[in-house]
Amino acid sequence: MISNQEVKHIAKLARLGLTEKEIKKMEKELSLILDYMEKLKKVDIKEVEVYSHSWLKENIIREDEVNEKLKMKNEKLLGLAPKIKNGYLKVKSILK
């Protein structure tokens, strides 16, 4: 079960703007799905480690350098942004 208040809180955390109607529907559907998850509670996990792919045991790291092969024109990527100014992404004000 999940309450209306919880759904609103989660929607805010997820940065999803939902209408009242959508929140109501979400409350019903998430509750059903979470009820279904309940069966996981009966599994004994006391001695169990969290999963990892057994063939990916090492961290893959690299030098923090620009890969010239992959360098892309800035304009190409900025061209995908809805609003830019002087070569930067433009955003709305954060503080009122």
Partner: protein
């Protein structure tokens, strides 16, 4: 046999023997797509001009050199969550409706190097979240075997394209069954490779510990050809692994042991589907393969574990869609609703994402949020280990595991769309494979009426060769 029905190897022979040109081959597909796509809606985007000019290039290569790579001049379809430079990549979502890919995915780069002819991009459930392709923001794809039914999903456009001869082969992605289940519903071959066997660079991320790119083809041999072309270590995907390629290895049928898990044949499976699967397993027995019943006791937990882990990863991956960097933005709307940054986030995401994607983002955010993380995400990751242990134990006794791909055949459009949980249940046989990262093949093995049934052949990590071999001997035996 008409040109669009050809397999990769047959089309390759035709090209080098000059029975037809690459241009003729590509044109044959483009014509067929124009005739058929209206009713099937496998393709979202066609890139006709680039396909034709690529085909001409290959024809020149054939006349000047005579020899070409196996995929050169062969027309393919690409799921619309894999980036092709300069081509729209929507991921089936309104939020990426006008997004043009700025670079090639590694798999695309490899296929372009071989000289492949990309025809276009295929339909999918939004962000690959779904099992029917009905959740595409641009409308559903239909199953070529029966237009009133779904093609499966999420790679439904790719599977339908192959079943309707609208491409020689296609690329799809598989996070919980998204290659295998549509392959089964449409009656084509689908391979989900071992996690790490194929680079994910340039694949729109859904759940990063589960996603893999793989081929949908007309024959197992074709699946092998495409897999060999696109697999390998890639410095741009640090989870990719350069697995040792076992070339021309011969497995003896008589020495092969197949495990059939009893937990996969319980209530919920359509008895007609079960009959077809059992008959296929019987055929392997006739070929001399040893069959053994095995147990995978944690099977019933795989589905709930998956529906915690995949939405959790998705909620993190999809945080990048913020209405600022690329994709749909509420700031582009004429209505002056957005006055501050938070509104831009809320409205771009609220309006840009479809219902199923929003539901999964909510589920994932909930499972990862303070107070619930241990009860859901952490617990799921531990049970995931238990599911892995089940398979490791089984693989000590048997070489491969056989199961159905899906508990039922292709269902009707609209049948499950209002009930998210029943839609989720259609992945019940395919998700363990993703949770553990194993390779698995969906092999057409019979029909219920007009509708195809797929046999799932699951192998040990990096043993694609073995499952492909077993698939091929079935095709020959048929």
């Amino acid at each position: 046999m008409s040109l669009p029905e050809l397999t990769i190897s047959r089309a390759h022979q035709g090209l080098i023997k000059k029975e037809f040109s690459a241009l003729e081959l590509t044109k044959a597909f483009l014509n067929k797509i124009k005739e058929k796509n209206k009713e099937i809606f496998a393709y979202l985007t066609l890139i006709e001009n680039s396909a034709l000019s690529q085909a001409k290039k290959i024809d020149n290569l054939i006349s000047s050199k005579g020899k070409i790579p196996i995929l050169a001049g062969i027309p393919l379809a690409v799921k619309d969550n894999i980036l092709v430079e300069g081509v729209k990549c929507s991921a089936g979502s309104k939020i990426l409706e006008n997004y043009t890919a700025p670079y090639d995915a590694t798999v695309i780069k490899k296929i372009k190097t071989e000289g492949g002819v990309i025809l276009g991009k295929t339909n999918l459930d939004e962000f690959a979240m779904g099992s029917s392709t009905e959740k595409s923001a641009f409308g559903p794809t239909r199953n070529p075997n029966d237009l009133s039914r779904v093609p499966g999903g999420s790679s439904g456009g790719s599977a339908a394209a192959i079943a309707a001869d609208l491409a020689v082969y296609a690329l799809g992605s598989d996070t919980g069954g998204s290659i295998r289940q549509p392959a089964s519903f449409c009656g084509v071959v689908g391979l989900k490779p071992t996690y790490g066997a194929v680079s994910r660079y340039g694949l729109v991320a859904f759940a990063s510990s589960l996603d893999q790119i793989g081929p949908l083809t007309k024959t197992v041999e074709d699946a092998r050809i495409v897999f060999e072309a696109v697999s390998g270590k890639d410095e741009l995907d640090s989870t990719s692994v350069g697995a040792p390629k076992i070339q021309n290895s011969k497995f003896k049928i008589q020495n092969t042991k197949i495990g059939v898990p009893k937990e996969y044949f319980v209530k919920g499976i359509d008895p007609e589907v079960e009959k077809v699967i059992k008959k296929a397993i019987k055929k392997y027995e006739e070929m001399g393969v040893k069959i053994e019943e095995i147990s995978l006791p944690h099977t019933e937990y795989a589905l709930p574990v998956y529906y915690i882990i995949s939405p959790s990863e998705a909620s993190a991956n999809l945080a990048r869609f913020d209405g600022i960097k690329y994709g749909y933005s509420a700031t582009s709307n004429q209505q002056p609703a957005t006055s501050n940054l938070l509104d831009v986030y809320l409205e771009s995401r609220g309006q840009g994402f479809g219902e199923e994607v929003r539901r999964r983002i909510m589920l994932g955010t909930y499972a990862l949020s303070a107070g619930y993380y241990e009860a859901y995400y952490l617990r799921a990751q531990k049970i995931r280990t238990l599911i892995k242990n089940d398979f490791e134990k089984a693989f000590k006794k048997v070489d491969v595991v056989f199961t159905p791909v899906s508990p039922f055949v292709a269902f009707k459009l609209g049948e499950k769309i209002e009930d998210p949980l029943s839609m989720y249940l259609s992945d019940v046989y395919t998700i363990s494979v993703n949770l553990i990262g194993l390779p698995a093949l969906s092999l057409p093995c019979g029909q219920v009426g007009q509708l195809p049934v797929g046999l799932q052949i699951i192998g040990r990590p990096f043993e694609e060769n073995k499952i492909l071999f077993l698939g091929q001997i079935f095709e020959k035996y048929e």
